[in-house]
Symmetry: C2
Subunit: 223 residues, 2 copies
């Protein structure tokens, strides 16, 4: 599981909760160095290992999303080289939210169906991926989740795949994951129009910069 | 927001994501010392302040749950004194999962309706609370959530109360909180009987020790 400054901590912790419920599994929190990593909500997490020391072969490679920090990750040659390398051998290559744009920048989604945060999903095309709407989208060994809170669904889906349904149901019951959102605005299909427009208004700058970054990474890989 | 060793990180990060979306709000991650705090899933978080240095007056006091670490918190005089003090002035006294047992140990739920993780909810009676089934239970200024993942619902509920519905809906849409659990086992009412029995089998030891601890704290407060 990749940690980087400015990532969204809930993107990371939803899946981390689920993956760490796989008895016998070793979950690595991997960052560029052992220095503390602060998320976009100002929560500071400690890595357990670094890009250089992380195991060569991983069952699951996971990348969280975020805002400005994600843009920086998408342009970071050391980080992208790590993802391209580990992603080439990982059994499952996974992400939540705009983490899929980081996978895309690393060249890991070319020709794969993938999803992302709804407001940035169209950018997947700029990474050569096949933009696909869905809470958790699987194409061969790529599994990408929608925005932020989709990490719980993605994590639980993987627990079911790596163990079995009864195991995943036990994890779900332990986490009392029977959600009851107090409002019905979690998707652009159900949110009030004014709320949708206000939220969309937050994304043009991020999307423009992400598009430029993806174009540069695609070009760099061609040369 | 209280941090303590062995707490469940998802209990903490769900509400932390929502609270930190309140523009202008200052979110404190409060621990006994500034030393890193490791959760039950082995995620290590850094506090931003300590029990001694935390502001006297808090809008929201929040306590996450967990397993063995929660039992330790329920028996920690310094921690309980902090909660009793801040809880006496906080506008909202809140918890997720077995965090309500810590509030109960601090004497903050006596005579209040409250909930907890479904498998430990009956222990609230031992803290003088009125055991109440519900995803998010409010009684006056006490707001308690059910197990682990209920923190997202509790956090979003509080955002709606502290701002307004449109603000909370925007936060919900940003987090794409339109959950689609891949299984339907998140509640003991919907989980397969075998899954429910296996999960219940994990709790007798915790519940017995929690009951003893609550009895001791209630007795200590009487003397």
């Amino acid at each position: 599981m990749l940690l980087y400054p400015g990532m969204t901590s809930l993107d990371f912790v939803g899946p981390q909760h689920m993956f760490s419920s796989l008895m016998g599994a070793q979950v690595h929190h991997i960052a560029k160095s052992m220095a503390p990593v602060t998320s976009d909500s100002k929560l500071t997490l400690l890595p357990t290992t670094t890009l250089k020391r992380a195991p060569r072969d991983l069952d699951i490679l996971f990348v969280p999303g975020g805002g400005d920090g994600t843009l920086a990750a998408m342009a970071d040659p050391e980080l992208l080289a790590f993802l391209a390398d580990r992603g080439s051998r990982a059994k499952w290559v996974t992400s939540v939210c705009t983490g899929s744009l980081v996978l895309g920048a690393a060249g890991l989604l070319k020709g794969y169906k993938a999803t992302s945060h709804w407001a940035s999903r169209s950018l997947l095309k700029d990474a050569g991926a096949i933009e696909t709407e869905g809470r958790v989208v699987r194409d061969r060994n790529r599994i990408t989740g929608a925005g932020v809170s989709a990490g719980l669904d993605l994590g639980l889906t993987l627990v079911g795949m790596l163990r079995d349904q009864a195991y995943a149901e036990t994890v779900q019951l332990l986490a009392e994951y029977a959600p009851e959102p107090p409002f019905n605005a979690g998707s652009p299909r159900t949110a009030p129009e004014a709320v949708k427009q206000m939220t969309e208004g937050m994304f043009p700058d991020f999307n423009e910069r992400a598009r430029t970054t993806l174009a540069r990474q695609v070009k760099l890989r061609r040369t």
